[in-house]
Symmetry: C2
Subunit: 420 residues, 2 copies
């Protein structure tokens, strides 16, 4: 079918004619479609069977972007391809932790996937101090599985490079390269920050050691093709409820450093922690929930590291360090030490990338709702100054921080006398 | 033209019908062809005009490899494409330091390039203690130009990833991954070593710290997509004379760590240094030439680093650390410090990869002529033991070795009491 943008009527005709969707949205149902996209880059339809609301799907279609001339359209189409490819791979590696893909139509630039009607984006419930007893287990499995099984530890060299070739994603990478690692720390028209923290923003821009360290993190992002990473794994890319967790929106996926994904999760939890100085005025309530968040931070890393190492021990089929290579007296001890050093280096990257991403949220193009929803700019500034302090220390001290407990200790140190 | 293997007659017909070769091998000449290839993977013809021997070319054509069934043929064709692409890129970036490419015919799996009739492969003249006054300047320019101009320091992120996509080279990479970093240090049928050093070979296989460090170097090779590297830059890939230097055979080219190329050059010079304990019995002659070789080692690194940094200062058009990012009080000092750290990290990789490649030459599938041409196995073993000592220390101490002078000091320490 030649490309044409769908609407609430044609989307129903479309899904009813797709063989792959016969069991999801049966033709004998009474389908209704609602368009919920932002109307800029993508159309997003929720399609439901009114006779049986269990039967539902989301159809996401790239739009030829009309506002800007030039090559946005190829970029948008490409984005849809990367998102679909990544979802399919993640479904294979971490089933149940991403939306299922029901159908993909390259010519129509659309993907049909599972509708997550009972999930919410993680930021809001975290601000509302909700508990998610299964989140740590779910996200650490997602991280361990997607990162391990796409790395040189599991794939052969040839398999890995074939997968890497499918995820050369230059335009989406450029967005992260510019907006995480460079532009926020220099004069650039798209930067936004709370005027109350102008002095701190200017200080970051002039901090020579910090800027050298941030450029080192950018080098890691641009060169370290370690695993197929999600590459935008903030809490706005996580939909969940008490029972279920799903990672969405993987259009930035490419072969990059594992620590960039793990760092994104930890950093977003800490930013949420800081936001409670404004969102949760009650001291008891606040300290209780903040302690819960720091526990999650520690547990996510520790569980990730444990699961990752277990996968490695049990599935060492890659060619980086094959079992036969460790076949010598005490070779198993050496292999264990190698695994420990490998995971430690992922941890140092986690600290550095987490810190960089925390900083950029305070002074770059993309802020985060947890913080920007604080209306009082002075109170917001208290949280933001702490984030700048913590993010800077994570970046600068990343090679000296050897455990997640130390990483969290920095959060405690910087927040021990907060007055708001 | 559909694929067909050429012979000494059809190769002349072929070149006379190619428009691109009209000015190189004029149809009115009296062309003669000689086949000089090894007859396994490639045909290699030297084609000359007998009326004007200045008019000459080399035609290299992939052969469907008959001895082994299966997929060697696609691999061989692919190899020819990588070699040609790399030669074209290197000609652009380091003109005069690689053979010129005259013509390329994908369907015929052949490339026609400059004939280097006045050059010799570097190993033999080094064993014969020849001096090459321009080598340091030439090879350091080759390294600085090809590595800088293909890195994120010069290319934009998008340009770099587009080039990287053309050089995803999994099968050739696998050869280096297996035969440099893994197989030589474990039981593997293709390994060869001098029986006189069996104890030392077995000791390497059981050396836990060394094997962990070698696996770390393998990780660097498999993940660090820093620049388009030659990836097989030993002294058998260098053809030269007193006036001219050419780097040949870049079929292994891919995006990898810069230090792998620089390390290959330095390591081969040190292996040649060691070979003189057998090749040059005269003490005066030997120590004089060995000092010359260690000078080259120091100068190649120092000149490479100087040229690389100058290129960076003068052409900082990449997006890793743009000039605007350093636009703050004393930002130029910070940028200088960043460049220094970047180059220092290339140096640590150089030491580690140089060490790994030195070790594999002693106990893996591919030995080197400088050493294997020593007929007396006991004398050869003296050189090989030294290489194992030096290679092991380079790998293990790579992060503590901060200058090429220290790197060379290890060579001096390990060879201070050699008796042969």
């Amino acid at each position: 079918m030649a490309y044409q943008p769908l609407d609430v009527n044609t989307s129903i005709d479309y899904v009813q004619n797709r063989p792959a969707l016969k069991s999801i949205l049966p033709p004998q149902g009474k389908l209704v479609a609602e368009e919920v996209g932002d109307g800029n880059l993508n159309l997003v339809f929720i399609i439901e069977n009114q006779l049986n609301p269990e039967q539902s799907a989301v159809l996401k279609q790239a739009l030829p972007y009309l506002r800007v001339a030039g090559d946005s359209w190829p970029l948008t189409r490409e984005r849809m391809r990367f998102e679909t490819q990544a979802l399919l791979k993640q479904n294979e590696l971490a089933p149940g932790l991403v939306p299922k893909v029901y159908d993909y139509d390259e010519e129509m630039s659309l993907v049909v996937m599972e509708y997550l009607g009972k999930h919410e984006i993680m930021r809001k419930p975290l601000v509302a101090r909700k508990h998610f007893p299964l989140f740590t287990d779910h996200i650490s499995t997602f991280l361990a599985n997607t990162l391990f099984f796409t790395s040189d530890l599991y794939l052969t060299g040839v398999e890995k490079k074939e997968l890497q070739a499918k995820f050369i994603n230059p335009h989406l990478c450029k967005i992260q390269e510019d907006f995480v690692f460079t532009n926020p720390y220099m004069d650039s028209p798209e930067n936004k920050w709370n005027p109350e923290i102008d002095a701190e923003v200017q200080a970051v821009r002039k901090n020579a050691e910090l800027k050298i360290a941030l450029a080192e993190m950018k080098k890691s992002y641009m060169t370290n093709g370690q695993a197929l990473i999600h590459s935008d794994l903030h809490t706005g890319s996580i939909m969940l409820n008490e029972h279920d967790t799903r990672v969405i929106d993987p259009e930035f996926a490419f072969y990059g450093p594992m620590g960039f994904d793990v760092g994104a999760v930890l950093e977003n939890l800490v930013l949420n922690y800081l936001s409670h100085y404004a969102h949760t005025p009650d001291f008891e309530q606040r300290t209780h929930y903040q302690a819960y968040l720091l526990d999650i931070v520690c547990n996510v890393w520790n569980e990730f590291a444990r699961k990752f190492e277990t996968l490695w021990k049990e599935n060492n089929r890659g060619e980086l360090a094959p079992n036969k290579y460790w076949d010598f007296p005490d070779g198993q001890t050496a292999f264990a030490k190698y695994r420990e050093r490998y995971i430690q280096s992922v941890f140092h990257d986690t600290v550095g990338h987490g810190g960089a991403k925390m900083l950029r949220r305070m002074m770059g193009i993309v802020s985060i709702w947890d913080i920007t929803s604080i209306e009082d700019l002075k109170k917001r500034a208290v949280c933001e100054r702490l984030a700048i302090q913590i993010g800077s220390r994570w970046v600068l001290e990343r090679r000296q921080i050897n455990s997640v407990e130390q990483m969290v200790e920095i959060v405690r140190e910087e927040t021990k006398d907060v007055e708001i």
